[in-house]
Symmetry: C2
């Protein structure tokens, strides 16, 4: 937690918050703060600054906050991700938030196991919690949007073309001929398949919707590695 | 396992191997192969090709192999990493191997907790197992070298200067003035600190040894995210 992210329900006055639970534990056990100490804070979807601890008990920390700085720029990227295996999903979500990705679509694919969609990590609360951890790591405040689409074909045929408008649209597809561009630094949409990749049918449908297939070289990367590699490659100006 | 990595002890003839344990389970339960089916294989520190299953029992799989293709090029990078927390270490090791990093130095730093060095993941066998998983993911065969240095000062003063010779030497240090270069594509050494970063004293010692401090932008990345971002940024020609 490089910055505590503050939500509307944390505020007890316009410049005062009360923190409990995870953030309190972090303040006590990791940062080991006392009354009078400061820590970086940011208001969700708002400005960043610092908070000064004015009261610390076993159950809550009260902070006076000063917010003045905007959050860092975000790469103009729409990430369209085949729903990952649950044990990877949380980490990918956190990493995506840390990298500044603000628009995440979780879609189905042939190699997405049906059980993946049952994970409790997809609840609104879990999504928010994990995105929060990613934002706190990065020192960002802009909460990403996560869209869940459990049917591949209606998504690709009915929604994807509009989503790709005015963007460079790519699908990461190992073994294809075209390398992924570098330092693109313009609005882009990037589709990343499941473990084992999109099927040829799925790649065909994504191409019909306007995506170009690109590869990342001879190495096959796990999704959790491919996402930072791709963001770094496309948006070196934003990182 | 996009490719089964073969070790000398797997060979029963120059073109035949017998696989047991994890690789057998993968062949049976994930790939669901039968006699006559093929899978990609590679010989550790050697060529890659395919194996044809000629015998499959509950306890072993026998394959006839043909190897002709060299492994992919590797980024010319020496990674010098403050020993990560054990639960992250395994993953960072696998990811580093997948990215093609061949020279890994695990060093001490003030914010490396003493207990991190006690992890069983540092045994020779565990290191080999996790690097193997990373290589199998990438379809690579060249086993990385891992060097363990539990004392910061002797390493930085006595070994590091020679290690940095003829390399671009960088230390990732959030908050410094110089951005990390992009598409360097020449031999480099990269130092990455622990959670919370190197101390100013440590950064000073690394700079004395020849490293330049660089930042990755305003976002603070976890080590497991920073490594793929940095490799992608420095070596776009190798990925």
């Amino acid at each position: 937690m490089n910055q505590a992210l503050l939500f509307p329900e944390d505020f007890v006055a316009h410049d005062r918050v009360v923190l409990r639970g995870r953030r309190l534990t972090h303040i006590q056990s990791v940062l080991r703060l006392s009354a009078g100490d400061r820590l970086p804070v940011g208001r969700v979807n708002g400005l960043m600054g610092h908070g000064t601890v004015i009261r610390l008990t076993d159950t809550e920390a009260e902070l006076v906050i000063t917010l003045a700085q905007p959050p860092p720029a975000a790469p103009p990227l729409t990430l369209i991700l085949a729903m990952p295996r649950p044990k990877m999903f949380r980490r990918i979500l956190q990493t995506s938030a840390t990298l500044g990705i603000k628009d995440i679509w979780l879609i189905n694919a042939y190699k997405v196991e049906k059980s993946f969609w049952q994970t409790p990590w997809l609840s609104d609360e879990s999504l928010r919690d994990n995105l929060t951890l990613g934002l706190e790591q990065a020192k960002d405040t802009a909460m990403p949007d996560v869209h869940i689409r459990k049917l591949f074909k209606p998504f690709v045929e009915d929604e994807l073309p509009a989503l790709l408008r005015d963007k460079v649209a790519l699908v990461a597809h190992p073994g294809t001929a075209t390398p992924c561009p570098t330092h693109l630094n313009q609005p882009a949409a990037l589709c990343v398949g499941p473990e084992g990749g999109f099927t040829p049918y799925e790649v065909g449908k994504l191409e019909e919707a306007g995506c170009q297939s690109v590869h990342l070289g001879p190495r096959i990367l796990r999704v959790e590695t491919a996402v930072p590699v791709l963001v770094s490659r496309l948006f070196d100006a934003c990182l």
